[in-house]
């Protein structure tokens, strides 16, 4: 959880969360006004885990939220102001994996990797933790600055699923915030966790997955320096190398075109072009 111990010891602060005055004092929702922000926060998560609900709660926007998979197809942006800092919040399309080649999953991946958000909030369905954790672990391969929003805790409670949040946080090495975003539960804690990461009050020590393969490590040590030399501004050359070893076509194409790292250009390319000649013949 959060590094600040007083949140958990203080009962009175817990009840403050419910009070609109408390929230209003600290959180200023700025809607779509995203100019002049200090930090960028990305919302990542499996489909239908409540990313858009969290997005709306923080920005005050009313992006339509649906109880189905694939409601958000492009990234939506909004902003909020919290304790002296202005944040731009980017709601990404739902993704099961960052290794996939589906177009909206690529939009999510490219943004986390190349958009270099200051914090990536992975919204996780507490009732389906195991499958959702795959995405968290993949995100940790790309960036350390991850907060897990353990959402739908109300549903988990109803299903009698108990999660040891502290142990989970310890295992992952990053903050884990239990939430029920639909009811507004946990939003202040999430804000605090985001703030602690951008201010450096909490330094994540994520546990990266050990791939336990010597030959893989050798291949990586071969490729990574080459990639770093060619793309010096790349945030995570190791991950790009991993994707190249996997034969990821969009990354290969981005290297070939020299657009690697440019989110907007990559995104434009990720949209399938429908007037391409030869479309009809394509099978």
């Amino acid at each position: 959880m959060s590094a600040n111990p007083e949140i958990h010891s203080s009962v009175s602060l817990r009840s403050c969360e419910k009070c609109p005055l408390h929230n209003a004092a600290n959180l200023r929702r700025l809607g779509v006004n995203t100019v002049g922000f200090d930090h960028v926060v990305a919302l990542l998560g499996n489909p239908n885990t409540g990313k858009s609900t969290v997005f709306n709660a923080l920005t005050g926007l009313r992006q339509h939220v649906g109880n189905w998979t694939g409601k958000t197809v492009a990234r939506a942006e909004g902003a909020f102001h919290h304790r002296g800092r202005t944040f731009k919040l980017v709601d990404l399309p739902g993704a099961y994996s960052l290794f996939s080649s589906s177009h909206h999953e690529e939009i999510a991946r490219d943004f986390v990797l190349f958009g270099q958000p200051d914090v990536t909030v992975v919204v996780v369905d507490a009732t389906r933790l195991e499958r959702n954790l795959v995405l968290v672990l993949q995100a940790l391969e790309i960036t350390d600055r991850v907060v897990v929003a353990l959402n739908l805790m109300d549903e988990a409670r109803r299903h009698a699923i108990e999660i040891d949040v502290r142990a989970l946080s310890r295992r992952l090495g990053i903050p884990v915030v239990p939430m029920a975003a639909r009811q507004g539960e946990g939003i202040p804690d999430l804000l605090r966790a985001i703030e602690e990461i951008v201010s450096g009050a909490f330094v994540p020590h994520p546990r990266q997955v050990n791939h336990q393969s010597e030959s893989l490590e050798r291949a990586l040590s071969d490729l990574v320096p080459q990639i770093e030399a060619e793309f010096p501004h790349l945030p995570n050359a190791r991950w790009v190398a991993l994707r190249l070893l996997d034969g990821d076509h969009s990354i290969i194409q981005a290297i070939r075109e020299g657009t690697l790292g440019n989110v907007d250009q990559m995104e434009r390319r990720a949209m399938p072009s429908l007037n391409r000649p030869g479309l009809i013949e394509e099978t």
């Binding site: 489909p47 239908n48 009313r62 339509h64 649906g66 109880n67 189905w68 998979t69 694939g70 197809v73 290794f99 589906s102 909206h104 009732t127 933790l129 195991e130 954790l133 795959v134 968290v136 672990l137 993949q138 549903e155 299903h159 009698a160 699923i161 108990e162 999660i163 040891d164 142990a167 295992r171 992952l172 639909r182 997955v209 791939h211 336990q212 393969s213 030959s215 893989l216 291949a219 071969d222 490729l223 990639i227 060619e230 991993l242 190249l244 070893l245 996997d246 034969g247 290969i252 290297i255 020299g258 949209m271 399938p272 072009s273 429908l274 007037n275 479309l279 009809i280 394509e282 099978t283």
Partner: protein
């Protein structure tokens, strides 16, 4: 060789050394780690309760035998509630805006000595068109949208998608097309954008081309009103609302049939190719927060759609008033246009007024009914039974009986009503949707196909029903 190519060829060499096991190994290690962490941190006390309840409900809602009947009944129920509930508030609103406020505004205009042509233009053209849209559209929308949103929040729509998936597979389209179709029931432009969830360009195009067969916000009110005053009114008393809602449901299902047929034809001719597989997740049923749903669907859908309709109705009202009052020869411009479109309208079992209304309403389907009524009134003004109710381009009274009387004077029959409902389903998309199709496809050709294909279908279907009805001597 460029440095980029050097990296790629090095990566390719390494890749061939390791073979496929490398990527499997990497992918697998994430899953292993995830399940290890889950094992250590999650305790399930027998996962009782809702999970199994969800499954039981799903077994009914998505079963082969009950899936479709339940869907049909739910849809029918939604429209029954809408039509039964909208009746009284609609007439109340109409009385208020068209009777009370309209005559009050006229008194005020006379008091400040506004010239008659200006008060006619503003109050009888612009204001009345907006008042019409408000009374015809607000009550049904304020009931229908929250009901639909509640079903959506509950998690029922993915079950509908699940049921329809088999049919879509048969038609050679992508199963996710059901979801973009569902979005289309709100707004076709939004439905077109949501086809982005379909990865294959071929299947995405099919979804775009057929999205117009999902009846949108702007068209529901037309169907509901015509269904009520013609089909409902012809039914025995007590059955009226049931029959009216059934006619709307039938039109909606007809739209699904057209979606499937056109998809099947496209995927076997122009857009041939393999159907891709996908996994559809059935989300847990979530108890909707009713008050918030009512509030957001009122703000996000009802008021936004209504606002759009009002903004479109103002210039349309102005155009109707002007064309009805400016005369060339001894007939108004509207009269000339209606006469010009008359023969085509007759062939399609409609009339010139309806076709002209559909031209005026290209920017927004919402204003079809008000436009038809105002034009019909203008052109049958000589009839003595309407004296006191109307002057050129003006409609001042609203009651279901009145509307039907006005339309009957305009030569309407049951055939006209049924064909208007069919044409409402099958005609060109509104200008916003056309623009969205162009933005998404960047292709003039596909935009043209998406625009003209439904229009042509509408022409064919309406002409066919009209010809059959006339040959059988029904009209």
């Amino acid at each position: 060789m460029s440095p980029g190519e050097a990296i790629l060829s090095r990566a390719a060499t390494l890749r061939s050394e390791f073979g496929a096991e490398l990527s499997d190994h990497v992918a697998e290690s994430f899953f292993t780690e995830a399940s290890a962490i889950t094992r250590d941190t999650v305790q399930r006390e027998g996962e009782r309760g809702r999970m199994t309840l969800d499954r039981t409900i799903d077994r009914v809602l998505t079963s082969r035998a009950l899936g479709f009947p339940v869907m049909f009944l739910m849809l029918w129920g939604v429209f029954w509630i809408t039509i039964a509930g909208a009746n009284y508030p609609s007439s109340l609103l109409a009385w208020l805006t068209m009777d009370v406020i309209h005559s009050w505004l006229h008194t005020a205009a006379d008091a400040i000595l506004l010239p008659a042509w200006l008060s006619g233009f503003l109050l009888d053209g612009v204001y009345l068109a907006m008042a019409w849209v408000l009374s015809v559209m607000l009550p049904p929308m304020a009931i229908f949208f929250p009901l639909f949103t509640l079903l959506e929040d509950l998690g029922y729509l993915p079950r509908v998608a699940f049921n329809l998936d088999r049919l879509f597979k048969w038609s050679g389209a992508h199963g996710k097309q059901v979801l973009s179709m569902m979005m289309g029931y709100g707004c076709n432009a939004a439905g077109i954008v949501s086809t982005r969830i379909i990865d294959s360009p071929r299947e995405r195009l099919i979804a775009i081309l057929t999205n117009n067969f999902s009846i949108c916000n702007g068209r529901w009110p037309t169907l509901i009103l015509i269904g009520t005053i013609f089909l409902g009114a012809s039914a025995p008393a007590g059955m009226a609302t049931l029959i009216a809602s059934a006619s709307v449901v039938f039109t909606c299902i007809l739209g699904i049939i057209f979606t499937l047929l056109v998809s099947a034809i496209l995927s076997r001719t122009w857009l041939r190719g393999q159907a891709s597989t996908f996994s559809l997740e059935l989300p847990p049923y979530r108890p909707p927060r009713i008050l918030q749903t009512l509030w957001t669907s009122l703000i996000d859908r009802t008021l936004i759609v209504l606002w759009r309709a009002l903004v479109m109705a103002a210039p349309a009202g102005a155009v109707i008033w002007l064309t009805s009052n400016i005369e060339i020869g001894d007939t108004s411009i509207a009269g000339h246009l209606v006469n010009l479109l008359g023969p085509l309208g007759w062939l399609m079992g409609l009339n010139g007024v309806i076709l002209l209304a559909y031209v005026v309403a290209i920017p927004a389907n919402e204003i079809i009914i008000p436009t038809i009524l105002m034009l019909t009134l203008t052109l049958s003004i000589t009839d003595p039974s309407l004296t006191g109710m109307a002057s050129a381009g003006v409609m001042v009274e609203f009651e279901e009986g009145t509307i039907q009387r006005v339309l009957s004077l305009g030569g309407w029959t049951m055939l006209t009503a049924i064909n208007l409902m069919l044409f409402c389903l099958l005609h060109n998309p509104c200008s916003t949707t056309i623009l969205t199709i162009w933005k998404e496809t960047r292709s003039l050709r596909w935009t043209a196909v998406a625009t003209l294909m439904p229009l042509a279908l509408g022409g064919i279907v309406c002409t066919a029903t009209a010809t059959i009805a006339r040959l059988m001597g029904w009209v």
